[in-house]
């Protein structure tokens, strides 16, 4: 199988959405769509699965909460239960209200930061990463739909030409 892709360029997000729907209906495989801004409903039109990032965030939050509980219990109750201003350091529950701000903040801290790091890892984003967009105009005012070439290349190109594209290019996959 060849590694060729067709890059169809559009200058309007509504036309792009229609093109994505037509291409999917014609059973062509869309490799990727590059847009300068989030196009509402594009993920649904492309048939992408929903993100599970929220679930990871919930789990990270639970980790942060547990960490806070363990840390406060270890430091304030088990390791050195000092009497500080009459606070009841006899058991975790008796002194719990004083720990709640830390428990809350650590839950949020873990949930937020670990989720962001998960996002960077899953979407392969880091400093000095080489940009992947096929055409610099896709960060400004152009939309590119990349369709895999399977079988008849000429037929695919002529199909895509009818979807309102302003420019079309067949390249080897980078």
């Amino acid at each position: 199988m060849s590694n060729k892709v067709v890059q169809a360029m559009y200058n309007d997000d509504d036309i792009l959405m229609d093109a994505v729907k037509e291409t999917r209906a014609a059973n062509h495989h869309i490799e990727e769509v590059y847009t300068p801004f989030p196009v509402h409903g594009l993920d649904k039109a492309m048939g992408l699965k929903g993100t599970r990032l929220a679930i990871t965030a919930f789990m990270y939050g639970c980790v942060g909460f547990s960490f806070a509980v363990w840390m406060m219990n270890y430091m304030m109750i088990e390791q050195w239960p000092q009497d500080i201003g009459g606070k009841p350091s006899m058991s975790f529950f008796l002194n719990m209200p004083a720990f709640v701000p830390i428990m809350f903040e650590l839950s949020v801290f873990f949930a937020a930061h670990l989720m962001v790091i998960t996002f960077y890892m899953r979407s392969r984003l880091w400093p000095f990463k080489e940009a992947e967009n096929p055409d610099p105009r896709t960060t400004d005012d152009m939309f590119v739909m990349e369709v895999a070439v399977e079988g008849d290349e000429a037929a695919l190109v002529s199909f895509l030409e009818k979807t309102g594209t302003v420019e079309i290019k067949v390249t080897e996959k980078h």
Partner: protein
């Protein structure tokens, strides 16, 4: 147009009758003399010995500490218990009256917020909200009558209304400039009248807007809603001092008004969601989709957390500093009301937090209904734990009086709300945001 189903009407009448009988029983079965209380206490001493004798020791210690004659300690204790027991059916009624009134009032506030913020999504729910606020005039009058009865010394919920108590209490004497009966009733009348006036005016304007050719009524509604919100914030805060905080006239808390508001608004949004789901299930709200429900469920979730935040802020600040004059409030609640006091945290925070966190669950009606019922029970208990410790102390029990008071007021609430629904079309078709709301999806 909505037609009040005969089943629901029968249900509301049944609730009112059962509730009324239960409330009447609660009043009639209250012991009327100190001797009755003594017999009752003797009985309970006999039935559970160890616990009761322990109780007696505390009572004796209490009486001695108060420098009462040791011989009379039993008498004075019985008299104290008698006062608490006499308050019980009154307090039960008061909790129920306030609970349903606050649902209606906070629905009005939510409604005004939607107008003032020009929200697009809730237009299709406006008639539901207006119907829930239809209880406001009825509930307002009932509450006001209750306050008049209290000020006539038919009950002892508000101790500062009792001249004998005030005569021996310098703390209350110092507050008498604010806490006196005529001023209290005038304030209550002003709040209730102000809220009802806005409610009736807004209702008139939206009905007029339905058939209007221009947006004049809409602009009036926008302005009056903004003005009402200013009025509401001030009066709601003062209402919470007057109607709830003054039950403990020795205690004060600065964020109390907000705390009551949080409890109110989450119950109100829950009620809006429940009524909408009911009506949609009956096929009356075909323009309400599950994105509207999703939004309501998000509000339920968010305001549940907001309530918890205020609850905890109030509790933790007082617990941490542990200043005796403030901390007694929580000490009595923690000692005598441990299960409702901690249980409501599970109902009002933990349960909604875990159930309504998932975005998919927020679109499923039965999830919203289940959580909604739990939240409403939780906030009933919240009000219960605010009022009861001050009026019945350790003599609390969720029994016939409490349950039938809720049933009685619930019956009236259902009857009034669904009667109001029949009075107008269920779609406020005059709103300029109607199209946006009908096509709303998330």
């Amino acid at each position: 147009m909505y037609t009040f189903s005969s089943k629901l009407k029968t249900l509301s009448f049944a609730l009112m009758i059962i509730g009324f009988l239960g409330v009447a029983y609660g009043f009639l079965s209250t012991p009327s003399t100190v001797e009755d209380v003594k017999v009752m206490m003797q009985d309970s001493h006999d039935s559970h010995g160890a616990e009761a004798s322990n109780h007696e020791v505390i009572a004796d210690a209490h009486a001695t500490a108060d420098a009462h004659d040791a011989e009379h300690s039993d008498d004075s204790h019985a008299e104290h218990v008698l006062h608490l027991l006499k308050n019980k059916p009154w307090s039960a009624l008061y909790v129920a009256l306030f609970f349903f009134f606050m649902i209606s009032l906070a629905t009005l506030a939510f409604y005004a917020i939607q107008h003032a913020s020009q929200a697009g999504w809730p237009v299709v729910l406006f008639r539901v909200m207006e119907a829930i606020t239809g209880y406001l005039p009825v509930g307002g009058v009932l509450l006001f009558v209750f306050f008049v009865l209290s000020s006539l010394h038919l009950n002892h919920l508000f101790v500062w209304m009792d001249p004998e108590v005030v005569a021996h209490d310098e703390l209350i004497q110092n507050k008498a400039g604010y806490l006196n009966v005529p001023f209290f009733l005038i304030r209550a009348a002003i709040y209730i009248a102000g809220w009802i006036v806005y409610r009736q005016y807004a209702r008139k304007l939206t009905l007029a807007q339905d058939n209007a050719s221009d947006l004049k009524n809409y602009y009036k509604l926008f302005k009056s809603s903004a003005a009402f919100l200013v009025f509401f914030l001030v009066t709601e805060s003062m209402m919470s001092w007057d109607w709830i905080m003054s039950l403990d006239p020795h205690w004060f808390s600065t964020l109390f008004g907000w705390y009551i508001f949080a409890s109110m608004i989450v119950s109100a949004i829950t009620t809006i969601a429940l009524v909408s789901i009911y009506l949609k299930g009956k096929g009356y709200l075909e323009f309400v989709n599950n994105s509207h429900l999703h939004d309501l469920a998000k509000f339920m979730f968010g305001f549940s957390v907001f309530w918890t935040y205020l609850w905890f802020s109030q509790f933790m600040l007082i617990w941490y500093a542990n200043i005796p004059e403030e901390v007694t409030y929580f000490a009595t609640r923690f000692n005598d009301y441990k299960i409702p006091f901690l249980g409501m945290l599970v109902l009002n925070f933990l349960f909604p937090l875990l159930v309504l966190m998932n975005s998919d669950y927020k679109r499923v009606p039965w999830f919203i209904v289940t959580t909604g019922i739990v939240i409403l029970i939780g906030h009933y208990i919240d009000i219960y734990v605010m009022i009861m410790p001050a009026t019945v102390g350790d003599q609390w029990f969720i029994g016939i009086s409490e349950i039938s008071s809720v049933l009685l007021v619930l019956g009236i609430f259902i009857y009034v709300v669904f009667t109001t629904l029949t009075k107008a079309p269920l779609l406020a078709k005059g709103s300029p945001f109607l199209k946006e709301s009908e096509h709303f999806h998330y």
